[in-house]
Subunit: 577 residues, 2 copies
C-alpha cells in the first residue's frame, strides 16, 4: 500500500518495528511463534511450497487466479499479484464465506448470507493473514446473535413481539451494521490479545462486503476500496434523475453509460485530518509533548517565530492566523497531503486492524488510538433497483462490485476500473470465468509491464505502474440478488405452511376444548404451538411492561415515550452508516 514512493522512503516508513510485547516472560529468551503459517488465500489452491514461492516472484509478478474459477460464490472473480520487492511476501490477503443462519424454530429455511473480504497488510503478514482466516468466524457469531431479530415476517403473520423488547427504534439495517461494527472491534481485540502469544503481526486495512436479506453492506477501515460499477441505459438514467449520477458518467459506445459509485472512502491522515486533530486537541496526553495538533498553511520555521501564521486546529474547515510560538515548531500530528500524508510521521493509513505495538518513528509514542478500527459502512437495498425487463442488462443495472487493495486504486481511477470491467465482460458474454477475466485484467492493467531497466510501467511503458501488492475481487451483484429472491419465495411459502398448520391446530384445539372444556389452559396443552419461543416472547413483553418501575431517577427517561420499532422500518435505498 505504499507505492509511488522511493525505496528510501519505503524502508523508513514501513520499518521492521520490533515487537513490543507487554509480558516480558514471553519475549525474553525464546522468540514467539507465528499464529498462522504464511499462505495465500486457500481458494487459490496453491498446493506446493514451490507454487507458493512462485507466487511471490518479484521479477515476474505472476497474476494468480483461482484454479477453479467457480470456487467463489456467484462465480465472482479474483486475481492477485505480488509487489516488486518491497516485502518478501505478498502482504495482501483475501477471503470469502458462504454461510447460513439457522432459524431457531427449525421448521423454516435457513437464512443464507455471503461475505467477501480484502485485507492489505503492512509491517508484516500476520494481521492480514489472521483477519482473512478469522474475521468471518467473528462476523458469523455476531449474526447468529441477532438471527431472531433478522428473520423476515410475512404480511399475513401478526407482527413479531420483539420490538416491545426495546425503548428505542431498532431496525434490521442497524442490527446488521452493528454486527459488522462489533466484528471489526473484536477482530482488532483478537490481534491485541494475540500479542502475548504470537509474533508481532503488524497491521492491515480491511474492506468487507456482506450480502444478506437482499441487501449489500460494505464496511471499510483503511485505504482499500470498493466501488459499484454500473452500466445503465440513458433511458434509465433519465428515469432516475434524482440520483447523483452527474459524476463519473462515461459514454459507452452505444446507448449506455458507465457509472462508478464509491462504496467506501479511503482513511488516510489527510482524509481523516479533522478526526485526528480533534483527538489530539481534546486529549493532548496522547501526543506526549512531542507533536502539535495543528495544520499550517506554511511550514513553521524558527526565523518566523513571533510572526503570524495561518493555521487550522480541531475540526476547523477554514484557515485563521495565530502568532508563531516555539510550540508550533514541534512535528505536526499529520504531515504531508494525499497518499503521502503520515500520522505521527509514521503511517499512511488511519484505520484498520492490529498495529497495537506500532510506535511513531522518532518519538516512540503509540500510534493507537489515533489509528482506529472503526469501520464506515455503506449499504444498498437491492430490492429497490429498477430493472428494464427486456434489456438483458442485469449486470449493468445491479452493478458489479469491485473490491481492491490500493495497488489497484493508486494507478487506476474508479471510472477507468468501471470501464475496463464492462469492456471485459463484453468480450466474455456467457463464460463462467468472465468475472475472473475482469479481475485478471484489472490486476494486469495496474501492474503493467517491466521495462528493460526492470521498472514497472503502465501499458504505454511511460507512466509508472504500482510496485505494491494488488488484489481484486469482482462480484456480480445480480447473481446474489437472484439467489436471494428464490430463497425469499421458499421462505414465505414455508412460513405460510407453518401458519396454516398452526391455525389448523388451534381450531382443532378449540373444537377439542368446546367438546370437553373442563380444564382450561388450552395453549399449554397444545404440543404443536411452539411454546418455548412464545414463553421467551412473553418474558420480554413482561420486561417491557415493567419499564415503569424505574430503578433510577431519570427525569428524561420518565418523560419520554419513545418510538417503538415496527420491525420492518425501511431505510433509504442507499445510506452511509
Amino acid at each position: 500500500m505504499f507505492n509511488r514512493l522511493k525505496n528510501r522512503v519505503l524502508t523508513s516508513i514501513v520499518p521492521d518495528i520490533p515487537s513490543i510485547t507487554p509480558t516480558p516472560s514471553y519475549s525474553i529468551g525464546r522468540p514467539l511463534p507465528e499464529k498462522f503459517q504464511y499462505q495465500r488465500p486457500p481458494f487459490l489452491q496453491l498446493l506446493t511450497p514451490d507454487e507458493l514461492k512462485a507466487s511471490a516472484d518479484h521479477n515476474v509478478r505472476p497474476i494468480i487466479v483461482p484454479r477453479d474459477v467457480a470456487i467463489l460464490p456467484f462465480c465472482a472473480g479474483y486475481a492477485e499479484c505480488v509487489n516488486s520487492g518491497k516485502s518478501e511476501w505478498n502482504e495482501d490477503q483475501a477471503a470469502f464465506s458462504m454461510q447460513v443462519l439457522h432459524h431457531p424454530s427449525k421448521d423454516l429455511p435457513d437464512l443464507p448470507y455471503v461475505y467477501f473480504g480484502i485485507f492489505d497488510g503492512h509491517a508484516g503478514t500476520g494481521a492480514a493473514l489472521a483477519s482473512s482466516l478469522q474475521f468471518h468466524h467473528i462476523l458469523h457469531e455476531k449474526l447468529v446473535d441477532i438471527i431472531e431479530l433478522l428473520l423476515p415476517t410475512n404480511a399475513n403473520e401478526s407482527p413479531p413481539m420483539f420490538p416491545l423488547m426495546f425503548h428505542k427504534t431498532v431496525s434490521k439495517d442497524e442490527l446488521i451494521i452493528g454486527a459488522l461494527e462489533s466484528a471489526f472491534y473484536d477482530m482488532d481485540a483478537v490481534l491485541a490479545e494475540d500479542r502475548t502469544k504470537y509474533r508481532n503481526a503488524g497491521g492491515c486495512t480491511s474492506v468487507v462486503t456482506l450480502f444478506i436479506l437482499g441487501k449489500m453492506y460494505v464496511a471499510n477501515a483503511g485505504d482499500s476500496r470498493a466501488i459499484l460499477a454500473q452500466r445503465l441505459s440513458k433511458e434509465m438514467i433519465k428515469m432516475q434523475a434524482d440520483k447523483p449520477y452527474s459524476n463519473g458518467v462515461k459514454s459507452d459506445s452505444d446507448d449506455y453509460q458507465i457509472i462508478a459509485t464509491p462504496f467506501s472512502f479511503d482513511h488516510t491522515p489527510d482524509t481523516e485530518r479533522g478526526r485526528i486533530l480533534s483527538l489530539g486537541k481534546v486529549h493532548p496526553d496522547l501526543m506526549g509533548g512531542e507533536y502539535i495538533a495543528m495544520e499550517y498553511a506554511k511550514k513553521p520555521m524558527t526565523k518566523d517565530l513571533g510572526t503570524r501564521i495561518l493555521y487550522k486546529q480541531g475540526n476547523m474547515k477554514g484557515w485563521t492566523y495565530k502568532t508563531l510560538t516555539k510550540e508550533d515548531l514541534k512535528m505536526p500530528i499529520v504531515t504531508g497531503e494525499g497518499k503521502r500524508s503520515r500520522l505521527l510521521g509514521t503511517i499512511g493509513v488511519t484505520r484498520g486492524f492490529g498495529d497495537h505495538d506500532l510506535r511513531a518513528i522518532g518519538s516512540g509514542l503509540l500510534i493507537k488510538p489515533f489509528l482506529s478500527c472503526h469501520p464506515e459502512i455503506i449499504y444498498r437495498d437491492l430490492s429497490l433497483i429498477i430493472s428494464l425487463p427486456d434489456d438483458n442488462n442485469l449486470d449493468g443495472e445491479y452493478g458489479v462490485l469491485i473490491m481492491g487493495t490500493d495497488g489497484l486504486w493508486d494507478v487506476l481511477e474508479n471510472e477507468t476500473v468501471a470501464r475496463i470491467t464492462f469492456e471485459t465482460l463484453k468480450k466474455y458474454p456467457n463464460e463462467k470465468h468472465r468475472y475472473t477475466m475482469v479481475a485478471q485484467e484489472l490486476v494486469a492493467k495496474s501492474r503493467g509491464r517491466a521495462n528493460d531497466s526492470g521498472h514497472w510501467r503502465l501499458s504505454d511503458l511511460k507512466a509508472p505502474a504500482t510496485v505494491d501488492d494488488i488484489s481484486v475481487i469482482v462480484i456480480p451483484v445480480y447473481q446474489y440478488y437472484k439467489e436471494f429472491c428464490e430463497w425469499e419465495k421458499k421462505y414465505f411459502e414455508a412460513q405460510q405452511r407453518r401458519e396454516e398448520l398452526r391455525n389448523a391446530a388451534i381450531s382443532n384445539n378449540k373444537a377439542m376444548n368446546s367438546a370437553a372444556s373442563i380444564n382450561g389452559d388450552a395453549s399449554k396443552s397444545n404440543p404443536i404451538i411452539d411454546n418455548d419461543e412464545d414463553d421467551d416472547e412473553d418474558d420480554e413483553v413482561e420486561e417491557a411492561k415493567e419499564e415503569n418501575s424505574t430503578e433510577r431517577d431519570e427525569i428524561d427517561r420518565a418523560l419520554e415515550k419513545i418510538n417503538l420499532n415496527d420491525g420492518n422500518s425501511e431505510e433509504p435505498s442507499e445510506s452511509t452508516a
Copy 2:
C-alpha cells in the same frame, strides 16, 4: 429554549447554578458585578426603564419590533417576544453590524460587509448579552487580519503574489470560514476569562450570518436555526433539476413553489450523540467514573445483570449485543431523545458560548468540553443564483434568510415558516416594513394566544404554542447582493484606473530611463508604484523560496510539492464547512 417541558423539569434543568469562580478572592465577601447591564437589542430603541419592563410582561408577551423599520441593513425585519414566565427577562439577544474593511493601499474602495447574529441564553442573561455586544467586534478584527488576502483581483491584473506565501491551498472561502470559526473560539474564551471579574453569565447558542464578497456564510453553534426560504417558478425548478429540491416543496397558488433550505443544523445531545459518545470513549476521565458512554436499546436494569443488551458506543451507527454489567447501570452520558435529550442529565444543547462553570446535576462534573463552541458553517455564492429577467421575483429567487431561536422552530416547521414568509410578503408588495411584518407574523404565529386559563395556544387554541422567548430576523438576500454588485463595479473601475495610472507611470519612467539611463532601479525611483506593498510581497516570495532550506528533517515534507492556490479557487455554490 426549553419549551414543551413541564415546570418541574424546567426548574431542574435550568437551575440557578451558583457561580463557581476559580479565584476565591473575588467570590468571597463581595458579589461580582454584571459585565453589561441587562438590555434589549439597541436597535429596538427601548428608551426608558418602563419600556424595558413592558417588553418583559409575561402575561401580555408583547411582540416588539424596531421603532424605525429601516434601521436594519436592507430593511431586514426583526421581531421578538418574551417567554411566558420561565425567566424574569427575555434571555434571547440579537445584533447586527454594517462595517467596511479598509484597503491597505488606500486608493481602492473599502470592502463592506454585513453581519447578523441571534443568541439564545440559558441559566442567565449574561452570555447572550455579552455575545450580542461583543461578537461582531471580534469578527471584525478577524476580517481585518485577512483583508489583503480577500480583495478581489481583476482579470486584467497579474495574479497576486500572496499564494506563494503558503505551501497549502488557501481559498478566500477558507479564510472567511476560518475568521468565523476563530471568532467563535475567541468569544467563548472571552466569556471564560470574564469569570474572574464578572458574575456567572450562563451560556448561549449562537447563529450568525456574514454577507461578504457576494456570498452568504451562516455559522451555527447550538439549537437556534437559519433557513433560506425561496419561492421559485416551476420552470426554474425544472432548470435546476440537479438540486435537491424534492424535500420541502410546497405548491403555491400559482405556478410557483415555496422551498425551505436549512442553513444550519441543530446541535443537541441527540443530534451530536456520535461526537459525545466518542469523546467519552477516548477520554473516560471526563466522565469521572459517574457516567457511561454508551447508548442502550433498552434501559439497563439491575435485574437484567448478566443478560445481553443491545448497545452502541463511540461512532457506531448500528446496534450490537453486550452482556449487561454493573458499569452499564451508571447514567448514560446522553439521555433522552430529540429536543428532550440531555447531556450529562443536565443540558439540552451541545454547542454554544459560555457555560464554563456549568456542572452536571448530581455528579457536579464539568459539562465542558462535551459542550463545544465550534460552529458549523454553510455558505452560498450568490453570484451563481440563476434569475429569470422578467419574473420580478428576486426575493423568491435569491431567497429570504430566516434566523430564529428555538422558540420559533419548536412550534413551526421550516416549510411552514417559508410559506408564512411569502404569504406575508405578498400582502405587502412594496412597503418598506414588509420584512418586519414577516418577522412579526412569525413571532405571533409561534407565540399564539393565551386561552382563558392563561395557557399559550396556537391559533386553533388547541395545540400548545411556545412558552419560550422568541426572536426572528428576516433578511432579503437579494438586497445585499444588489449592493454588492454595485460595489464590485465601482471597485473594478477604481482598480482599472489605478492600473492605467500605474502603466502610464511605468512607460513614463521607461521613457525617462532610456533618455538618461545611467542609474538603474527604475521602479524604486517611481513614487506612484506602491512600493510598500510590493516590498511585503517580495519578502513573502523570498520566504517561500527559502522553503528548501528545511530546518527539520521531515521526509514527507521534503517530498511533497503541494498545490499552490490560484487565489480564486471556486468552491461549489453551496457547501457545508
